[in-house]
């Protein structure tokens, strides 16, 4: 108990990353114990896919096979966004309530590390969700048209967007008072963001008021970009808009969340 441990000092961006990885492992260890959020992140979009495919497939697109080509990319984006949508914000909120955060804050680690760790773990959860969804989509008749690069590009874009969306839930998790409120907020955000988009059909088929929202909804742009990639018709425009929206989400939510979290009351 007498020999002091030597530890690094000074500004340590690498240390922040290392600590974030340690904390990401903590979050993933909890996922293996309680895989609910990931299961939810796969089952919910898969159910929507089955539902929409057989409800709208024939009347909207003429055949379910054709509609699967339209529908699946949007489902993929939904899956990537959903796996962490509730879990990260809720976990961070719980840490704040029950005193785990106090321990982290009293340790000599960057105050960004617990948040970044949680979001990094999300990225892995999205990856799992995306892989499973690709398998389900294939079973339901979806075929990738643009080859492996297109599939990887679409998956990457969906996960990148999920990463940026995670920061929004982190921000909610840091700001609101209880874990139940995080769930409520996230659910309220889920419907208009995921469904008020080009998920089920092009936005120009929507009534004016809904179209106005769907056209500015970032999720629409990410779904459009993934759809174009996966159907072998990549457009620089939609990919660019998707990246831009992701950047905007990240650039606003991440600093705000870090600030609110690191603030000494």
């Amino acid at each position: 108990m007498t020999t002091p441990l030597t530890r690094a000092t000074g500004p340590r961006p690498l240390a922040t990353l290392r600590h974030s990885v340690v904390l990401a492992r903590r979050s993933l260890a909890k996922t293996t114990r309680n895989p609910g959020p990931v299961v939810n992140g796969v089952i919910t979009p898969a159910l929507f896919m089955v539902l929409f495919l057989y409800l709208f497939g024939r009347p909207v697109a003429g055949s379910t096979a054709e509609y699967a080509q339209y529908l699946f990319p949007g489902i993929l984006v939904m899956g990537a966004g959903l796996a962490g949508m509730v879990s990260t914000g809720t976990a961070i909120n719980l840490d704040l309530r029950n005193g785990v955060t106090d321990r982290f804050r009293s340790l000599p680690i960057s105050r960004t590390a617990p948040l970044l760790g949680s979001v990094l773990a999300d990225v892995l959860r999205y990856l799992i969700a995306v892989v499973i969804l690709f398998a389900i989509g294939t079973l339901l008749g979806f075929r990738v048209q643009g080859g492996a690069p297109a599939a990887l590009g679409a998956a990457g874009l969906a996960i990148l967007f999920g990463f940026c969306l995670s920061w929004l839930t982190v921000l909610i998790g840091v700001l609101v008072r209880s874990a139940e409120a995080v769930t409520a907020f996230s659910f309220i955000a889920f419907l208009p963001l995921q469904l008020g988009s080009s998920l089920t059909g092009p936005t120009d088929t929507l009534p004016g008021w809904l179209r106005a929202w769907a056209d500015i909804n970032p999720v629409t742009h990410v779904m459009d970009a993934c759809r174009a990639l996966l159907n072998g018709t990549p457009e620089a425009g939609s990919v660019g808009r998707a990246l831009l929206w992701s950047a905007v989400l990240f650039a606003t939510c991440c600093p705000l969340a870090v600030r609110a979290y690191g603030r000494q009351e």
Binding site: P4, V22, R103, E265
Partner: protein
């Protein structure tokens, strides 16, 4: 190296319009245990959170292990550990993974972190439960793990916020032994407590706070002396002698003694001469005595004397 483990000078901290801490000063020597004693809502937790760099002081100077909490919060965090009612380990992880994780966050290598976790688990008697999720632990086990989590980095200053709240007496004694051992190893300990007994048993020095202010400080014997008033407690062997004994006490002290339901006579005395005087008179009358004591007031009595209120009064105030 200076000899001061922690030093708080004129600390003020407000929350909105409430002043939680209003000019508190306290200090603890390196390797000493300082007891911060006060009822609920006295500002103890706020002081601890400022020392732990979780709260910013509004005024005053706060130094921990020689470092200013505002100028070098990162340095302070490298030297302290916080444990107690508002700090926690992760319930879903096992005891071992909690400790290993903290070791890794303190930049120990994987091997070192595992070894350190193993050491602490065995030191706190948690080896058997080490690989179970903390959610399955009893309150006492959880408290021990929480303290172990604080010790992973071998802190110079240990901040314990009501560490024994909710522990049964045996578990509490075990915790007290550990705290004493740590102090012997040179760790400075600040301990907040509502229990006078705990402060009396552990602390080298005690600072009593109430309503955000220091109302007394010193070693426990000094505090007791501040209140003054030694007491004589006397219990005749035969209840029938109670009146005769009371007459003796009244004669010497000039005041009728109080009678407890245990057939004890309790009376304040001016000094030990009065005590011996009573003893001599009882001898002359040849009364059989089963208990006869000359004592300082208990810390509970000191506390009541100093705050002029009980913990229940404070609870009522908070509820209002």
């Amino acid at each position: 190296m200076d000899d001061v483990g922690l030093e708080v000078d004129g600390l003020v901290r407000r929350f909105g319009r409430t002043t939680a801490v209003d000019g508190v000063s306290l200090a603890a020597h390196r390797g000493h245990v300082l007891g911060l004693l006060g009822p609920n809502g006295a500002g103890k937790t706020t002081v601890v959170r400022v020392l732990a760099t979780l709260l910013r002081p509004d005024a005053g100077r706060v130094r921990v292990a020689g470092l200013d909490v505002l100028r070098d919060p990162a340095g302070v965090r490298r030297r302290i550990a916080l444990s107690g009612q508002h700090t926690s380990v992760d319930e879903e992880l096992t005891g071992r993974s909690n400790l290993v994780m903290i070791g890794r966050l303190l930049d120990l290598g994987r091997q070192d972190a595992r070894r350190r976790a193993g050491e602490l688990l065995s030191r706190f008697g948690l080896e058997e439960a080490a690989d179970r999720p903390v959610a399955t632990y009893s309150g006492g086990m959880r408290r021990r793990l929480d303290l172990a989590a604080g010790l992973v980095g071998r802190p110079e200053v240990l901040l314990l916020d009501e560490p024994s709240a909710g522990l049964d007496p045996a578990k509490r004694d075990q915790l007290w032994r550990t705290i004493r051992e740590l102090a012997e190893d040179g760790v400075t300990v600040l301990l907040t407590t509502q229990y006078l007994e705990e402060a009396d048993a552990l602390a080298d020095e005690i600072t009593v706070v109430d309503h955000g202010r220091v109302i007394a400080s010193g070693i426990s014997a000094d505090l007791k002396r501040q209140v003054g008033g030694h007491t004589v407690v006397l219990r005749p062997a035969d209840v029938g002698d109670l009146d005769a004994a009371a007459a003796v006490v009244a004669q010497v002290t000039g005041r009728e003694p109080g009678r407890s339901h245990r057939h004890e006579l309790v009376a304040p005395v001016a000094d030990d001469a009065e005590f011996f005087h009573i003893a001599a008179r009882l001898r002359e009358l040849d009364l059989d005595i089963s208990e006869f004591a000359f004592r300082l007031p208990s810390l509970d009595e000191v506390f009541l004397h100093l705050t002029g209120a009980t913990a229940t009064d404070h609870a009522a105030e908070e509820a209002a």
